[in-house]
């Protein structure tokens, strides 16, 4: 029988485009120091460490060899893992699995990326996940989301202006988040006139490159109650693979997000997502993707999310509090990005999100990780058991 588990502490670095002042390991230590402080614990209390980044964008093999000593954590149990953009998601999900065994008192989940060091690793590292199949055409996250956005416009009838509305909303949220990287004070005109990367994707639509790390500590129930008086319970989690090329999908706009989130709703008795969940932190690598993700998690009918933006219904203090942190288009330390979502969701449930706190009580929050061409990790949090 699995233990019930809770997150007892979170921490992240101030995300920036460049961090020449620290090595990757030192940057990780910064997030871990903040996480331990938040949990009022020391490294002695941690008995398992799950860690990872998107290794191809790292330039280090076996980064744990460098990071574990920098954390003063030599000799502890743990794993190092990677799964492109979902890395932080699988790090957290694996940490949840391990904490749920009850074999460990406190599991530290750590994810990072120092993209100022990556130097075009995406394009150069064989052009994709498998060169023969995905490297024959110049593919990247930008082009992947360009084709999604084109198909979405085609199917939904929305225009480029709606993509700009999403971007402005994301920026308005990021402006309130001290940890966010891009805080630009954008207007619709600025977004609509921004440089095209791959039509209809403009530079501002796309997640930036970020140097940053994020961490959380997960404990089984008994330990969690001893450590903190505001544990955030992990109600459920699910990781979902998607194979091969996007062209395999029936619908080029979709990912596994609808499948994965509804599977989690079903096994937790969630019948009305907009009512049952009060905070959403969903990994959107590009502004247009946020529209489809809002639909896929069940907040509105397919191909109608752009109307919610037209009606000004999405925002921190609006009907649909989606990505109050400012999201991935403001901050993207890629391997760490799902943990950044998780950290935000924990802060929202605790009521500790400060200026970007969603008003009212947050009983449930949903955080996700996205990667590759459609993998998703779902993390469902609860205020009370």
């Amino acid at each position: 029988m699995a233990e019930r588990i809770a997150i007892v502490g979170v921490g992240q670095t101030h995300h920036k485009s460049k961090r020449p002042d620290v090595t990757t390991a030192e940057m990780c230590a910064e997030a871990v120091e903040r996480c331990l402080e938040d949990a009022q614990m020391s490294m002695k209390d941690i008995d398992n460490i799950i860690m990872g980044s998107f290794e191809v964008a790292d330039g280090y093999y076996s980064p744990d060899k460098w990071i574990i000593p920098e954390l003063g954590a030599v000799g502890k149990s743990g794993l190092e893992m990677q799964n492109v953009g979902t890395t932080g998601g699988v790090v957290a999900a694996t940490g949840f699995n391990i904490a749920a065994t009850g074999l460990f008192d406190a599991v530290l989940c750590l994810a990072w990326q120092k993209m100022d060091e990556a130097a075009g690793a995406f394009g150069r590292g064989g052009g994709g996940t498998n060169e023969y199949w995905t490297g024959q055409f110049p593919m990247s996250p930008i082009t992947n989301f360009a084709r999604r956005a084109y198909a979405y416009m085609d199917r939904s009838g929305c225009t480029e202006e709606h993509f700009a509305m999403v971007r402005v909303k994301q920026d308005q949220c990021a402006m309130k988040n001290e940890y966010a990287q891009l805080k630009l004070g954008l207007t619709l005109e600025q977004v609509m006139n921004d440089a095209l990367l791959a039509w209809p994707i403009r530079r501002l639509h796309m997640c930036p490159t970020t140097a940053g790390a994020a961490a959380c500590i997960v404990c089984p129930e008994e330990k969690a109650k001893k450590v903190t008086n505001k544990p955030v319970w992990v109600e459920d989690w699910f990781t979902c693979h998607q194979g091969g090329s996007l062209t395999m999908a029936e619908d080029p706009t979709s990912s596994t997000l609808a499948y994965a989130s509804h599977l989690v709703y079903k096994r937790n008795g969630i019948t009305n997502p907009p009512k049952d969940i009060q905070a959403w932190e969903v990994y959107e690598p590009a502004s247009p993707a946020e529209l489809r993700w809002i639909e896929e998690v069940g907040l509105c009918e397919d191909y109608t999310a752009w109307k919610l933006f037209e009606q000004n219904k999405v925002g921190i203090d609006k009907e649909i509090p989606f990505n109050p942190s400012g999201g991935v288009t403001a901050t993207n330390p890629i391997g760490a990005t799902p943990v950044v979502r998780l950290v935000e969701a924990v802060l929202q449930v605790r009521g500790d999100a400060g200026e970007h706190q969603i008003p009212g009580t947050i009983n449930r929050a949903l955080a996700t990780g996205y990667g590759g061409q459609g993998e998703n990790v779902i993390m469902l949090l609860r205020k009370t058991l």
């Binding site: 055409f137 110049p138 084109y150 039509w199």
Partner: protein, 158 residues
């Protein structure tokens, strides 16, 4: 390839350029590459639901059954999605920055499988999902058994 040597004035940084060659085996998918050399597009077919897929696979990703049947997907297909690259990107074959005039498209073939390709029409406003396209092949002696042996997909009248 370029080796930028930009230094931060305050902090010491260095770069290490590397080129690494891997030799990937196509295995069961080799038949697809051999088909392209003959100007044919082949896909594996699932014995459970009859769906044809590219990349071809020895086992169906959804039903976990062996896919022993190969199906010729024909020379025509319909447009599913398209995009154009408006910025210089790394060409993974050369490691150099490059720009491209032609849109990259996804095509649903007559046989039902889907694949990526270059579109002959460079004006994206003339592209509509569902439009009919036909494969334009490189001359046989230039083909390498790769998807870009199909030089372009050409829009055709119905």
């Amino acid at each position: 390839m370029t080796t930028e040597q930009k230094q931060d004035p305050e902090f010491i940084q260095f770069r290490y350029p590397r080129d690494v060659t891997y030799h990937h085996a196509l295995g069961y998918q080799s038949k697809f590459a051999n088909g392209l050399k003959q100007g044919r597009i082949l896909a594996t077919k699932c014995p459970v639901d009859g769906r044809c897929t590219i990349p071809p696979r020895i086992v169906c990703p959804m039903h976990h059954v062996r896919q022993t049947e190969w199906v010729d997907q024909g020379q025509r297909g319909r447009l599913i999605s398209a995009f154009k690259i408006n910025f210089p990107m790394f060409n993974s074959r050369t490691g150099e920055l490059q720009t491209w005039e032609n849109p990259i498209i996804a095509v649903e073939l007559e046989g039902g499988a889907r694949m990526d390709g270059w579109c002959m029409e460079t004006d994206t406003s003339k592209l509509k999902t569902g439009m009919l396209l036909e494969a334009v092949w490189r001359p046989e002696e230039e083909r390498q058994g790769r998807a870009d042996d199909i030089m372009y997909w050409k829009p055709i009248e119905e």
